[in-house]
Amino acid sequence: MAFSAFATATATEQAPRRASKVALLLLLPGIAYLMLFFLVPLFSLVITSLQAPAEFGDIGEFDNAFRWENYTTVIGQYSAQILRSFLYAVLATIFALLFSYPLAYFIGVRARPYPLLQKLILVMVIAPFFISFLLRTLAWKQILSDESPVVAGLKALSLLAPDAFLTGTPFAVVFGLTYNFIPFMTLPLYASLERLDTRYLEAGSDLYSTPFTTFRTVTIPLSMPGIVSGVLLTFIPAAGDYVNASREFLGGTGTTMIGNVIESNFLISLNYPAAASLSIILMAVILVLVTAYVKRSGTEDLL
């Protein structure tokens, strides 16, 4: 996914207008792939979301129907988890942006004279990908556990109440989300900052603007494509994430996100219509939010 960010950042050449038969033929596998693995499952998901429990049926048995109430029921039942998911995703995106921007700026602009250093830091950003993110999240669970030096240290410094803990709290979940998505934010930011023409910055200071004004009016607009890609790559998966908030990882019963609700309805309660309607609600909300965001940042042409 991170690679598509690079793709959106590079200006694509205008495709030839005449659709040749060869081009159509070459497109066919892609179209067939999308039909099979996107449209068909989506269609099946919509049908499932409208199913009604089978009469006298056993657990997990449903009949096709047009039960629109499924949607209102799950919204009523899980509104807290839905809102929480988007809150956590927004927080994680903001924190990831705050951490990643200086990092990407350093790699992409300041470290330009030192290509070796640049590559080294880039490797450090990407290296965690070599280990499964499940393992990394489990490692954080151990690091943040009650008897760990981290928690003991925070308590010694009175930054944490004596009976307080970190795992299973919103802090741990947002922390985990931020940590896991930082590379997805850093890489697109780096890709756009790397091509930042520093002569613009010089021109800014020649025209008596303060460093902050230059940053606000020159650097940020020029790196906007990177910001938009990074925000999308972080926000969309973070909103649907069910690993960090899971009780098996960093979450607790009070931090359940929509992904966990879907998982539990699908695998444990076997309430497929509820899980399917929640999935569709999640997709729809993300679609609306992302469209609004992209429109607002005025970067539609980048998508």
Partner: protein
Amino acid sequence: MIQQLIAQARRSQLSRRTLMSGAGLGAAALTLAGCARADADAPAPAEDNSANDKTLNWDNWAAYIDEDDDGNYPTLVGFEAETGIKATYSVAVDDNNSYYGKVKDQLALGQDIGADLVCLTDWMVGRLIRFGYVQEFDQANLPNAKNLTPSLQNPDFDPGRTLSLPWQGGFAGICWNKEKVPGGLESVADLWKSELKGRVGVLSEMRDTIGLIMLDNGVDISGDWSDDEFNAAMEIFEKQVNDGQIRNIKGNSYLEDLKNGDTLAAICWSGDITVINAEAGDKWEFAIPSAGATLWNDNFVVPIGSQRKANAEALINYYYQPEVAAEVAAWVNYITPVVGAKEAAMAIDPELAENQLIFPNDDTLSNAYVFRTLSGAEESTYGSAFQAVVLGS
């Protein structure tokens, strides 16, 4: 939609690459068929091919069979030597629900799920039997089944044991960290003491957690209780979760929380505590709560699509020999269902034969209760109510 797919498939027979996506179409059609709801008629059992195919796949839970330092399973090696059947043992069951979620579509179609023998918990076996997803045993192949403990011979989900046979059983009870909770615990209500706030863990297995709370309320969970008794226990559970008294609700991974100290006291499974004491220092103690423990069994079943039922029966028959059962019990620390295993264990290690968690006597067993089988409707309602609390608000 389907017509479009077919049209796509026809058009795609032009190049090698598009041919491959055509193969994908076939797979998708299968997947679609897999989504179809189980028919009212149960699937038909697969034809047995054991005579020509001397192999066997067995799915089981983690740390649930004797294992030596090299990762071999000594009793299973013995089985292969004795019968010439090559058995593949997979630790594929992590949780009843997730395993069921993985295989249910194949089961509904009567297809092979890649396992000829699975060990699942009583209530899940009850569900599989209700749906007709398991094959009936040929008793002629199971002469050693006569060694089954009498109390397990007629469970309500499988009277006469024609479709399932127990593998191991155990208790759900309470445990605590001896260093941090020196006083220990006596009952489930002790878990709600204020000094344990935020450090209590319970099992995500509803029947164990709610079962123990119901027992603490004085309900006989094997008896004829109804919604009121269940809801009373749910209320206590919900209150403790919302008050932050209960922090963790987990499956087998609760052991990690015990080890890293997040959980100081918990509802847990008997055999596990022996295992982590051996693994991470003798720090924990298990007890049967004063009001009683839940008792469960994991049972062998042969999935409906298996073509190696006779091989599977040979394996079950092998493990129902008292000497073999004793060897397994000595390692896994769970209750063996085989009569005579205690005497066999006496020969290995007399202390082992006295371990109440492996060979419980009548006194211990009189304080252990099996959660009664739920109807399909009850399973849905109770399960959803439990999940609603687990997912928080």
